[in-house]
Amino acid sequence: MAKIRVETTINGEETEFLCNGQESLLEVLRDGLGMTGTKEGCTTGDCGACSVVVDGRLVPSCLVLAAETGGRTVDTIEGVADGQTLTPVQQQFLEHGALQCGICTPGFIVAAEKLLEKNPNPTEAEARYFLAGNLCRCTGYDKIIKAVLDAAAVMREGRA
């Protein structure tokens, strides 16, 4: 069967790819487009490592079919930084040492950016529940949550 041709916008760039009907967005990003910043931890939506944003919604890219994204916008970890400038979330992850192995980090950052867009002043509990779908096995989450809350503070000051 012929492959499906999909036109979509990834990190602001119009992108075209071919895929099979059952291929996930995660597979196409990583294997088809070489965008390996989005990580695979489970392929069943349980770990958050493959988090991306489709049409403004945070989703697990392992549970999105690539063919669904025609005409939609996809934002990944590769598009988070503004050119050469890290976002406050990225910068706070570095300052706090909020990563050890780093495999969960792209998913956490994509999710945390979305959290702070929706809720610029989250409580610790709100941050923990919003990010509960992102598993980290190294840090015990302490420094991650602190980095997110501090990034929120930095962003609020920036806006003020």
Binding site: M1, N20, Q22, G45, R57, P60, C62, L65, G133
Partner: protein, 290 residues
């Protein structure tokens, strides 16, 4: 031979979706995909045809009026619980929706998927039943309305026939002094399937006496179940220790769960009672406050 390849279609009209589902045996509706694609990954195999229904305007529309809510079947959980009006009118239903998986999953998962997957542990289903919701089904013979309560017939089984899909839900507006609550028990704080879920909707009179009650349990029977004895126990008086413990006992008695990796029969029966009491209290407070 080679590995099977699936077709993918994204119709923009209900009729086209129905036609696709009717023509291809084994075709599957794709709304959120959070059950369908997981089952595929865990060995169920890919269906011959995915019918992505998210480009059908009627399936993504949200309309609220004095009669209640009419909402497209492909609206994701996140959009539902982010809706302030829905949260204030049906807080328990919003809670249940907010409990379906992680934030990421909520960006995809839908009520229709939760219902059609027909897991006894689906979080939205007891809450929808408690609120008296109806599913609008489209199929080759046209549209029909099925109470959510009557929709699931067993684990993985529903009233849907070939070519049919859920296109909308209708949730009637609550009465003046009415509200709902949903609670579930999971071992962690997030990311688990309900060991037991309990949805309670109560309508009070001006004095605070419970006029009507719906008590629905999840994960304790092949489908979500209403507990008429618990409902009867709650009706006719303001919520008190006596009616609450009678309702809890009724829920424990009505629960008919299995032992599995998520919980034992004895545990689930006990928890069914505990959650009935707790959800009833929350629903009562909310109803009083309205």
């Amino acid at each position: 031979m080679s590995a099977p390849v699936s077709r993918f279609e994204a119709p923009t009209e209900v009729e086209a979706a129905v036609a696709l589902l009717a023509e291809e045996e084994g075709a599957r509706v794709l709304s959120g995909g959070t059950d369908l694609l997981v089952q595929m990954r865990l060995g169920a195999g890919a269906p011959p045809l995915f019918v992505d229904v998210k480009r059908i305007p009627r399936l993504t529309a949200v309309r609220l009026d004095s009669n209640g809510l009419r909402i497209g079947a492909a609206v994701p959980a996140a959009e539902i619980y982010e809706n302030d009006e829905i949260r204030s009118l049906w807080p328990g239903l919003a809670e249940a929706t907010d409990l379906i998986g992680s934030t990421q999953i909520q960006g995809r998962a839908t009520w229709s998927g939760n219902l059609c997957n027909a897991s006894p542990a689906a979080d939205a289903v007891p809450a929808l039943i408690a609120c008296g919701a109806t599913a609008v089904v489209a199929g080759p013979k046209g549209e029909r309305r099925v109470a959510v309560e009557d929709f699931t017939t067993g684990p993985g089984k529903t009233v849907l026939e070939r070519g049919e899909l859920v296109i909308e839900f209708e949730v009637p507006a609550p009465a003046v002094h009415a509200s709902d609550a949903y609670l579930r028990l999971i071992p962690r704080t997030e990311m688990d399937i309900a060991v037991v879920g309990a949805g309670v909707a109560l309508t009070l009179d001006a004095a605070g006496t419970v006029e009507s009650a719906r008590v629905v349990l999840g994960a304790v029977a092949p489908t979500a179940i209403r507990v008429p004895d618990a409902e009867a126990a709650l009706v006719g008086s303001p919520l008190g220790d006596e009616s609450l413990s009678a309702a809890a006992a009724a829920s424990t008695a009505a629960a008919n769960p299995i032992d599995d990796k998520r919980g034992t029969v004895a545990y689930r029966k006990k928890i069914a009672g505990v959650l009935t009491t707790r959800a009833a209290k929350v629903a009562y407070e909310r109803a009083q406050a309205r």
